[in-house]
Symmetry: C2
């Protein structure tokens, strides 16, 4: 709980209209794209770095929990107030401060929506490569906090790879700057990258400088349909191993395709067990040649059908199935858990077989959607959170899936984050020495553990002396 | 000093022949490519992660300084024993453990020489992009510790961009693993990137997983000669701004070209004030087209002469001037200080003008060599360390140069590191809050400050309570 006097102080900093605490407001900010809900005690919407610094000084002194939140599209519970306190939102800090084509970079506030930045930089024939599925809603600040990936990651990497510099407000209220417009810097410890993916547990990101790349002049889009999912997975390895670096290499399995079909989306060849959606970009001639080679690879690996889009409209049609997938799947059962297992690319067929086997063993409906080109799987578990017995089976299946992924040299999260979704699995990937180092880093930035508590490393639970608060 | 009993324990871990402490051995390890010399008390050459863990346990308990050292090619004094203690060298841990073409990665021990890895992966038509000038000598472990760059950085980025995972021995003796063969991971704080560029101050890197890319099938090499250095710098901005991403874009000024000419290397057009060496790589047709466009850009910006290499031999000839540069410059005066100022690309002409003006103001001989495509300059100060008056002028010039670079949004080091070379300038780039966070991180990893003391953040001097040791 937050005392009246603290609430008044906070409210005075941002102005009354930007401090929300009616029951309706609290309910609105009680959830993100992960399922469980947690009511905050208030929502604060600062307008500047200076205001955030003032807020943090009070929060640090009064031990008020602060959970920063972009658009709340994360699916790991990273932006909900697990232990109450304030949600900090960034609607007001949503300006593109500068697009600098000469230095191929842009400077933005954290609340800028990813797609808005994409659109603006395209006017300079530039591209900001990270393209999370949530890009029409999610913000650059949230993308940095979660180190968001996206379909273009196969060729272009993730948010981290385009970060040049940050301004960050520390829990103490201190403001630091890391990096800047320079393309190369090795001064001091790499705080820029340390902040990226730290899920709002180390500091508040208030300004971001991102690197841009030339907008590729052409692209080719292909859809290949396989009657054996294993063949599709093997085609992925073949393409990656061939020296072609596709922009995008998405895989969708039959479970998901059937749901999409019933939902009114595209229909597929009757023998379809798996679909690959592949894109390459670059110079015209190159793109055409690579498109042909990829088509040949797919046919050699047993593709039943390959379609190649020659216009942007045709390409959009091919994307329709992929874009419809989440909506379609969400319509089937009350809830859909989007998982994020990631393995070395070569292990893709093996982890898919594991997931299919687990669905069978635990009688669950699990579809598979994957950024297959970088080994990043999104098993979609269609379930009902109210069904205790089914949820127990989901838990068992998840645990076994992550154990299998770990045994294959995988990771707990390719791009969705840890949040509260995977706290309990952290010791599968990290030993005690590594966890201790991470807890130590947390305490350096946030000694009173006021930022996004309960998330990520369950820091709050692990630092015993802090348990007495509130 | 190290007691006999500690030396005996250390020696027992690695075997007598791998613990060196004769005066000749100590002198051999007393310097790196930076100038000042510091004698260690001994040199220890471990053969395994297990041995390193044992060594660190003793070192941590007995407060023995350990300074890890790759090939000692760094030019910031990052691998010398500034306060005595042991140098840890990695000749024995020099194996390429695995090349995995399916997952496009390699796993190596820290002592593997960069060029050896390049050669081995090329047999699989793969490339490890980071190519520091020292690549025929320097090791991957050292490259990671310093986050080494290189001429290919314009297109391919730096060592950090190819790091997938690490095994690290902490000062406590604990062994942690970060990342692995997965291309995407957002589990926990990004310890992989935090280790990269930490200059041996946080832990001992004992295994490295690097990402590989397809070896580009073709390249084009161009040399453009300008009668005005400013025109050359502007041509750089024009090329970068055009949407072409060259692999390499090197600039050499007249001061350096004259030295190269006298040294017996290539001779240039009499009006030459600046030379650009430009390379593009990729598919055949693309490379040819980009080569033509770059030639046109250079001529439009006033190039007096442009040569385009059509064979690998011709390309090698064009590289000759660049490759000869360090040797030639080193022959001119007793010492050469290689600096590392880096600015946003657009500021390249401005920082070059600043350097020319400073050379004039302080009557110094300064040549300019630059990885111009990413704004990374290497001013070469030809000087004599024994001349106190001249060194004072060098110090003033450096300070003013870095102040100018900072005002342009630059950084203290693009790729060479901080070491002991730029400790004193850290507060130009970072405020007290940022420095405090860095010191805090250091203490989390290395609470007794035994790793590479005196380097990087002058951590030792700033943590007062530790000053009583030894």
């Amino acid at each position: 709980m937050i005392s009246r006097s603290v609430a008044d102080k906070m409210s005075a900093i941002v102005g009354k209209e930007w401090f929300l605490d009616t029951p309706e407001d609290l309910a609105t900010y009680s959830y993100d794209a992960f399922l469980p809900e947690f009511n905050p005690n208030g929502v604060i919407i600062p307008g500047s770095t200076g205001e955030i610094s003032e807020i943090m000084k009070i929060a640090n002194q009064e031990r008020i929990y602060i959970t920063p939140r972009g658009a709340g599209t994360n699916i790991c519970g990273g932006s909900v107030a697990k232990r109450g306190g304030l949600i900090m939102a960034f609607h007001r800090m949503n300006k593109i401060l500068e697009i600098d084509p000469d230095n191929m970079c842009a400077v933005v506030q954290p609340g800028v929506v990813n797609a808005d930045l994409q659109k603006e930089v395209a006017r300079y024939s530039l591209m900001y490569p990270p393209d999370p599925a949530s890009m029409f809603v999610s913000t650059i600040g949230g993308n940095v906090a979660l180190n968001a990936g996206g379909p273009r990651g196969v060729k272009y990497g993730v948010t981290r790879d385009y970060l040049l510099g940050l301004e960050v407000v520390l829990p103490s209220g201190g403001v630091i700057r890391t990096g800047g417009k320079v393309l190369k810097s090795v001064s001091g410890y790499d705080l820029t990258r340390l902040m990226c993916g730290s899920e709002g547990t180390l500091g508040i990101i208030t300004e971001i400088t991102v690197r841009l790349v030339p907008l590729p002049p052409a692209k080719a889009t292909l859809q290949a349909v396989f009657s054996d999912l294993d063949d599709a997975a093997k085609a992925v390895s073949a393409i990656i191993g061939s020296g072609i670096v596709p922009t995008t290499l998405e895989l969708i399995d039959k479970v998901v395709l059937d749901v999409i079909g019933n939902y009114g989306g595209a229909r597929f060849h009757k023998d379809t067990q798996g679909l690959l959606l592949i894109e390459v970009d670059g110079e015209d001639s190159l793109v055409a040649a690579q498109g042909e080679r990829i088509e040949a690879f797919c046919r050699q690996r047993g593709a039943v059908e390959v379609e190649r889009a020659s216009t942007l409209e045709d390409a959009e049609k091919l994307w329709q199935a992929r874009r419809t997938a989440f909506g379609a799947v969400a319509s089937l059962r009350p809830n859909c858990i989007v998982e994020d297992a990631t393995v070395p690319v070569k292990k893709l067929p093996a982890i898919i077989r594991t997931i299919v086997a687990l669905a069978d063993k635990y009688q669950l409906k699990i579809g598979v959607l994957a950024h297959a080109g970088d080994g990043n799987l999104h098993p979609l578990i269609m379930t009902d959170l109210r069904d205790k017995d089914e949820m127990d089976r989901v838990d068992h299946a998840l645990e076994e899936m992550y154990e299998a992924a770990m045994a294959m040299g995988g990771t707990l999260s390719g791009e969705h984050g840890i949040g509260i979704a995977k706290n309990r699995f952290m010791n599968m990937e990290f030993n005690d020495s590594a966890i201790e180092i991470m807890l130590g880093i947390k305490k350096v930035f946030d000694p009173h553990v006021i930022l996004n508590p309960g998330s990520f490393l369950s820091i709050y639970d692990q630092i015993n002396e802090e348990k007495k608060w509130n």
